[in-house]
Symmetry: none
Subunit: 407 residues, 2 copies
Amino acid sequence: MAPEIELITTGAELLNGSTVNRHAQWLGHALEQRGWRLLRDTTVPDDTAAIADALRGALSRCDVVLVSGGLGPTSDDVTRDVVAAWAGAKIVMHEPTRLQVVEIYRTRNKPLNSMVERHALVVEGARVLVNHHGLAPGEHIQKNDKHAILLPGPPREFQGILHDHIFPWLDGMNMGCHSRRQWFQTAGLGESDIAALLNAGGLAELKVDMAYCAKPSQVSLRVQEIAGHPHDYDRALSLIRGKLADAIYSDGDQSIEQAVFDLLKLRGKTMAAAESCTGGMLGQRITALPGSSAIFNGGVVAYHNDIKQNVLGVGADLLAEKGAVSAEVACAMAAGVMKLCRADYGVAITGVAGPGGGSPEKPVGLVYIAVADAQQTNWQECRLGGGRETVREASVLLALDLLRRRV
Amino acid sequence: MAPEIELITTGAELLNGSTVNRHAQWLGHALEQRGWRLLRDTTVPDDTAAIADALRGALSRCDVVLVSGGLGPTSDDVTRDVVAAWAGAKIVMHEPTRLQVVEIYRTRNKPLNSMVERHALVVEGARVLVNHHGLAPGEHIQKNDKHAILLPGPPREFQGILHDHIFPWLDGMNMGCHSRRQWFQTAGLGESDIAALLNAGGLAELKVDMAYCAKPSQVSLRVQEIAGHPHDYDRALSLIRGKLADAIYSDGDQSIEQAVFDLLKLRGKTMAAAESCTGGMLGQRITALPGSSAIFNGGVVAYHNDIKQNVLGVGADLLAEKGAVSAEVACAMAAGVMKLCRADYGVAITGVAGPGGGSPEKPVGLVYIAVADAQQTNWQECRLGGGRETVREASVLLALDLLRRRV
């Protein structure tokens, strides 16, 4: 059996715009850590023919297929029937589950209705996977060397049953591929800059599996060993570390805000943020991390110039002479917010996010970022593309990266 | 041609746990509004055989297939090759795109490298879909009555090209179903509160297709006409408007920040924000809207108490007596930021987002929001659940909704 798994997610809500399908990301991460690989995710509506077709395709490509959703009691819950038809088995009432469902209703003081017991219907011969987070159990159905595993759709139940029953089974097979893999997160370089740098260093000649994922001003690299070529893998890692050097902010899958948080915490330092065009995004990102009050004092959203002047103490003459989008004003904002919030570092962002507000001298996408501490202030000019939200996201990333390099 | 579309999303990052695939949800929503239906989403890695297999399957089921990702310059960008093989066409350099890419590099002062021009490679004979948000263009390739449409993976580029080129084409075919439908966005009521209110008004007896989608402190309703029952549809709309009244902040698919923006702009008023636990999220959300400087002056991220005191002027005695998470401090923050930023309205949020920091008196999820103007200050106590990020998002929503009701 190859250490490969496919997922089929079922549900009209995943295709009509109401719900984001997060199962593939969660499962992919969990499998990756166990040496298994998620080969494909197929999302289909609650439709017998579509689920049957997806199941047939998935089982033709790999031996273990997970199917989520469609185990409830209503008319659109048809997954169980599809798998029973594949297995050539009947649907039967699973008495221990039925008793459990009745007991749950009793302890919650909820009236039983005729639909409730349908949660306890299973494919005959299935290994029934107890659900500690909901009503319908999971089911593991084997036919010859093929395994179909049915899981409820709600994330807590889906994840709970995988943790309780399926991951131990996968781990027990001890068949995961043991090829090594390594992530790198970089800031400030484009995807083609990185590819050009690495290819100039000879990466293209090495037998390793490379994956790139580009976001605004940020590229993730994943390097995976190819069986039989361990030295190429080692050489690829040292080539990447050597060529990308300080552009790498994490050699795991950390976010830039987590990298900054960890560094500041390690050094016992605090920061504050003065934001113009990003309007609070930097603060929002940092404070998404639990415990961020240890390193983040607060900040000022200086969207209008009079706030830059009156709250942050940027000189009126400086604003008039250089304009709000300038290196000088960015530096004055960084120093101002550092003092105002009594932080060790002040970070500032000022720029033209667009779509309006640009001029020939100061076009849309021109952003100045600055980092101040008690000794000195550094700044950087960025010329960003891709629309308002992309400019804002890249500005936050680059400002946090400037702080990281400084700390 | 049936009004049905399949999506193929490509990228190792979608299956190894690093990225959530949001394309299906976004596209499903957009297609739904045009009377088209997203039939299936297949997520595969950047692998020639897997993409080719998924494309073959999708084209056997429907006439229009969108493929996202794999149009970049690196070795794992193979989508173009797969589609060229299907179409029996060569890959060629698209000169207008190449010139555009070179120009973008020039204006950003970035050095050109050998990889960059690869963004301009296209399938010969394709309709090239100009990308206003990035480098690689989209491509529309027709073979007999089948359409393969290639789109870049980054959401901004994916969405931009669909908006600019593909939705107009779909709309032009005028094949969508013509039943009427209407969205409503509500804040502050739960899904079951709404269902109970509407059923008490007789909604259950009307022949209309209802869909509810609940997010933190927010419910979207979708009402769709059932063929042959136009009067029931009309009655359902007026029932919903009557019963939900002021809880409806949009009868389209507007966001709460857009609703607030429109109202403030209409009245010629401005706002400022004082945020504690949300760390800048309210400012970030408002300033995501182009032109927000007309209504948003700025704000203060008062994460630490000394910023509440020294910058916003919240009394030290008030902070000591009532605590930072209190109605009184929320009101003082709102009034303070209104004065500091010289705005017509001040909005404040202070609460315990968790996971730490809770106590029996002030548990995780307790949040106070306040809105001040020159005359008076209103506040509201919220008890929210669902984890740090959910608490923060619901707080921003409810604070903006409190402001909306006031304006």
